[in-house]
Symmetry: C2
Subunit: 206 residues, 2 copies
DNA sequence: ACCTGAACACCGTTCAAGT
DNA sequence: ACCTGAACACCGTTCAAGT
């Protein structure tokens, strides 16, 4: 995890890991089948940092929206702590024990608040996808450029060819990432709420 | 583009490209600075396949929702035609001429329907991010496993450790991808509509 | 002025040879 | 039974030598 954090999945290499662990590369292959399997473990190890909605200091969530909000922020902060890991989430679907535990906890929470198994599973996918998507699209994470640099790039474009892009350049730069994330998340939660309304559940929140 | 489609960004190598073009690798470096720059061109070339909302056979969209729906489906189908390209979208923020043209057209369309520059830019980002996110999370694209195989994996899990995940396994397998995509997209559009209501615009759709 | 075979550097993986 | 130096295969990139 440390090596991938520092140098990214591409920069990581078996020789360096062997050196850091003070063994040879051949010995590594006695524990894992190869680099690919190792990356699966790295992803699951990092997902172990995501705490379940119930484990918060504030105790159990009062409604499903609060529970989902906690999960989303937990997942988001883990991705923010390990920005180099993002490409790994695109190549592999996390199915390790920690990934499953998170899924289990969140789906259980939703079920407790009256969600059907289908809607709970679907809601989990949607929110997880939203958090991952927003982490990926966020400029500056795996990309070298900063958000400001991108705004500058847009502004420097040909006004004739891309008038609207240039006009909106400031809007993009000014936009606060955190603010945009929260707004988008609430939109997604609204959507889940609406889906909940269509298929009546046992109970729910106001 | 053809080589990346066939073998993915990782499988692609300069030697094979040189062979296919019947030159040497050294000659390739007279046209591009390296593999990285080449991948930027590959992404923009593929984005050239996205048609603007106005270029549809049905003529100009009647409202912004229809325009956004067209863009979303266009982008989605391009990503579906080139599944191997997905990892490239995580590593680079597309800023080539085709990427900018799409952005310009969609933002212009939204502006025509009364969106402010800020909301138009933000809406474009949100929808593009949603489409990309759903393409990435879709099992089977860059991952070797099939959706059914993943359902099977979930079902085979320990019922004691992950009861809710196992219970929802069928729901996940049964879930139609296209259906889920459309439902999620409408949720996002609802969210944009709500944001539109908060900051009054010049005009809009019913 | 343009092209290229061959080399360099680096990395995933394996294996024959050690202890 | 376990470990490892050295090698093999592959790939991005460069350069001296060709035409």
């Amino acid at each position: 995890v440390r090596v991938v954090d520092e140098e990214g999945p591409a920069g990581f290499n078996m020789r360096e890991l062997a050196d850091r662990l003070e063994t040879s590369t051949a010995t590594l292959y006695r524990h894992v089948t190869g680099k690919e399997e190792l990356m699966v473990y790295v992803v699951d190890r990092v997902l172990g940092e995501v705490r379940a909605p119930e484990d918060s200091d504030e105790g159990a969530p009062r409604d499903w929206r609060e529970g989902m909000r906690r999960f989303a922020f937990q997942f988001r902060s883990v991705l923010a702590r390990h920005p180099s890991m993002l490409p790994l989430f695109v190549v592999q679907l996390p199915l390790g024990p920690n990934a499953l535990t998170i899924r289990e906890r969140v789906v259980a929470m939703l079920t407790r608040f009256g969600f059907s198994a289908q809607l709970a599973a679907r809601s989990y996918n949607t929110v997880a996808q939203y958090v991952l998507g927003s982490a990926i699209t966020r400029p500056g994470s795996p990309m070298p450029e900063e958000a400001a640099a991108i705004g500058e790039y847009y502004r420097a474009l040909d006004r004739e060819a891309y008038p609207h892009v240039v006009a909106a350049a400031d809007a993009l730069t000014t936009m606060r990432l955190e603010e945009g994330f929260i707004a988008g998340l609430e939109i997604v939660l609204d959507g889940i709420d609406r889906a909940r309304g269509c298929h009546p559940q046992r109970n729910g929140s106001p």
